[in-house]
């Protein structure tokens, strides 16, 4: 293992992202400011205005145009990046689908923030959860270090010719975006080498020629055509196949990155924490996993067999990895920092219950909606969830499958 000398910088999550983008030799950044993502574009603007990067920086008049410009820049052969949050991501909604449908490997950071109304600038996952069906790979970082590492890995994953799908890296508003942490960073040339130059796959053109998959005057192709019932369905199916291929490639890129960084996040898709012999477990994403790990340690010290499963990647959903990781767990609490109104619990809860239906294991599962609009999720509330799980373990009964926790009743 060749470990590379890394420097420790004090960075907020947003700054760590901007630094990773700076080092990844991005050709085009198009972005529009929105709290709490602003620091990413502000720092990146400084790199541009101080001549530290060659990037074409397009300060668009909206998020809709920001993502559009990244999409067409990527279609022209460029490496592209944008960042947004909340209402900005919602405004991009239409273009999210166009981006994945055009197989444009845009990388985007989302600083997870609640959706209006009432207007709220603080953390929850509603903004990116509503986009889970848009055929974007979704990473959820636990801290600033992981945000830095994931953005670098994201370019390799999105641009992989076997994937060619846009990729989102999420970090929690303020808890990560604005919190100063020690972040280990590589020298520029290490990141440049790891990310490499963008590879453009060859495709068969309408004239039957093998041509690069980009807008190239020497080999003209038509992108984004009118595509109805005779081919559209196959094209959508191809997107799903690319998503499934991503599972393996995300793990490979994560392994390769570990070789230079010494850092791992589980297997790259999921991160089990003291889960091997756990009887009760929480499943969550994002910064809440940090607090949960502390609580798990406290419970373990008292002899309680508690564990945690953090999903690092939510799309594609690592179904088999999740099932395998939970094989010894008897009662599970799924924490959702978003809610599907009128449904039976939050989106992660739905999917975990759903994938376990056909699994050889049948643990009890309860869902907790927490932390909407930035409401804190302190240790005592996580203890409360583990207490509930212990009761379920004792009684072998789930009284109430869906809870709201930390809310005034």
């Amino acid at each position: 293992m060749v470990k590379i000398q890394q420097q420790v910088l004090a960075l907020t999550g947003d700054e760590a992202v901007a630094y990773a983008v700076k080092q990844s030799e991005v050709d085009v950044v198009a972005a529009y400011p929105i709290t709490p993502q602003t620091i990413i574009v502000e720092r990146f603007s400084e790199y541009v205005y101080n001549g530290e990067v060659d990037t074409e920086f397009v300060c668009t008049e909206s998020e809709h145009s920001a993502l559009t410009a990244c999409l067409t820049a990527a279609a022209t052969g460029a490496r592209t990046f944008t960042a947004s949050a909340s209402a900005g991501l919602a405004l991009m909604h239409e273009i999210l689908y166009v981006t994945s449908g055009c197989r444009a490997p845009v990388v985007m950071t989302i600083v997870n923030r609640a959706l209006s109304a009432p207007i709220n600038i603080h953390c929850d996952h509603t903004d990116s959860m509503v986009e889970r069906d848009a055929c974007w790979i979704q990473f959820y970082a636990e801290n600033s270090q992981e945000a830095y590492d994931s953005v670098i890995q994201a370019f390799r994953i999105a641009e992989n010719p076997d994937i060619l799908l846009p990729t989102m890296v999420m970090l929690d508003a303020f808890f990560i975006s604005h919190t100063l942490e020690s972040v280990k960073v590589f020298p520029d040339e290490v990141v440049r080498k790891f990310v490499g130059t963008r590879r453009i796959p060859m495709v068969r053109s309408h004239e039957g020629k093998l041509v690069p998959f980009k807008l190239d005057p020497e080999n003209p192709i038509t992108m984004g055509p009118f595509d109805i019932y005779d081919y559209y369905f196959e094209h959508k199916r191809q997107q799903e196949e690319a998503m499934q291929r991503a599972l393996q490639i995300i793990k490979q890129v994560h392994d390769e990155y570990e070789k230079i960084s010494g850092r791992r996040y589980g297997n790259g898709l999921i991160e089990p924490y003291r889960l091997e012999d756990a009887e009760i477990a929480i499943i969550c994403i994002g910064s809440a996993a940090g607090t949960t790990k502390t609580v798990v340690d406290q419970l373990r010290a008292q002899g309680t067999k508690a564990g945690l499963l953090r999903l690092r990647v939510y799309r594609p959903l690592p179904v088999q990895d999740i099932i395998n990781a939970l094989k010894n767990v008897k009662a599970i609490a799924v924490m959702d920092r978003s809610h599907s109104f009128g449904a039976h619990g939050g989106p992660i809860f739905h999917e975990i219950r759903h994938i376990l239906y056909d699994a050889p294991i049948h643990p009890k599962i309860v869902g907790y909606i927490y932390g909407l609009g930035g409401r804190d999720m302190p240790e005592n509330l996580i203890h409360q969830i583990y207490n509930d799980l212990e009761k379920i373990l004792e009684t072998k009964r789930v009284e109430k499958p869906v809870h709201f926790i930390g809310v005034r009743e």
Binding site: E61, S62, T68, A69, T76, G77, V98, P217, E218, M223
Partner: protein, 320 residues
């Protein structure tokens, strides 16, 4: 880039068509004629992008395409942002020595819906940022692709399916938005109006738009036989009448300085050549309801409005 403008009919016949026959546009489609003419103005490598609309649909029904140049469509309201992204990518790739060509032109096409209405924000943003591209508005004065609904570009009194010729309200009650003047107000290097009836003027303007550094805006009035309710053989005649009646005068604004183009300048110099608006309206079914005693005063209102706008334009062009 040095540029030789050879646009005699013979020269044009020798230039390859960049948009090919076999597309699914209606017989007599004004936009299809204008696209073919505009692309004759290409001076070298060029990338095209199109907003959602008739021309996007008819030229790219998968697995076929009419485009002989690289082309991308993404959505309806963002074609100027498409162009911005392409242009930014070309600049970045050139800096890194990854672009094979010294220069690649970028041309964006959108209809009136994609320009006057849903695409105006992206257009305003892109030209404010100074991207080097030519934006072509093909204006057939309604959402024709979805079945003739009114847009900000639909003229006063016109029937559309969302401004019907009712027994109380005779077609669209509002005026056509002066979108090209809005573009001039952005202080961009080149804005022009053009008509497929005056093909040489149109092609030269398209070329100028490609040649200037920075954003250029070309507004072509392109009649639609289905939406305007006239016989498909009359497209060019009606396009010409629009100019002859001063409903759609031809002008250009270089660095915001307006000048009349020859077909309209002739009328400015000899006002007896200016035909009454009535002649333009009479040949189109979309204005038929105005030729009834109940609503005839709307024709006078349209004439007054056209005269007022023509007068203003003459002042801007220093012709008064």
């Amino acid at each position: 880039m040095a540029s030789v403008r050879k646009f005699a009919l013979k020269d044009l016949a020798e230039k390859p068509d960049l948009i090919m026959p076999g597309h699914r546009a209606c017989a007599g489609c004004g936009p299809a004629v204008a696209y073919r003419q505009i692309l004759k103005a290409a001076r070298g490598p060029i990338i095209a992008t199109n907003a959602t609309g008739c021309m996007e649909v008819v030229t790219t029904i998968y697995p076929y395409t009419a485009w002989r140049i690289p082309y991308i469509h993404t959505a309806f309201e963002n074609v100027a942002a498409n162009a911005a992204g392409i242009e930014a990518a070309l600049k970045a790739l050139k800096k890194k020595g990854q672009l094979k060509h010294d220069h690649v032109d970028v041309i964006a096409f959108a209809g009136d819906g994609g320009t006057y209405d849903i695409g105006l924000q992206a257009l305003s943003g892109a030209v404010e940022r100074g991207h080097d591209f030519l934006y072509v508005l093909y204006d057939n004065e309604a959402y024709m692709n979805t079945g003739i609904q009114r847009s900000g570009g639909t003229p006063l009194g016109a029937w559309t399916t969302t401004s019907p010729a009712g027994s109380v309200i005779p077609g669209k009650p509002e005026y056509k938005k002066p979108v090209s003047d809005i573009m001039v107000a952005h202080d961009i290097p080149y804005v022009a109006t053009a008509s497929p009836a005056y093909w040489r003027d149109l092609i030269i303007k398209a070329r100028k738009g490609l040649e200037v550094k920075g954003p250029a805006f070309l507004h072509a009035l392109t009649p639609c036989p289905r939406g305007w309710r006239y016989d498909m053989s009359k497209t060019i005649e009606i396009a010409r009448l629009a100019v002859e009646t001063c409903v759609f005068p031809l002008w250009e604004a270089v660095n915001s300085e307006y000048t009349l183009s020859a077909p309209s300048k002739v009328i400015a110099l000899k006002s007896e050549l200016k035909k009454p608006v009535r002649e333009y309206l009479r040949v189109q079914g979309r204005f038929r309801h105005l030729f009834t005693p109940k609503f005839e005063q709307v024709i006078d209102e349209i004439q007054r409005d056209i005269d007022k706008r023509w007068g203003r334009l003459l002042k801007k062009c220093g012709m008064v």
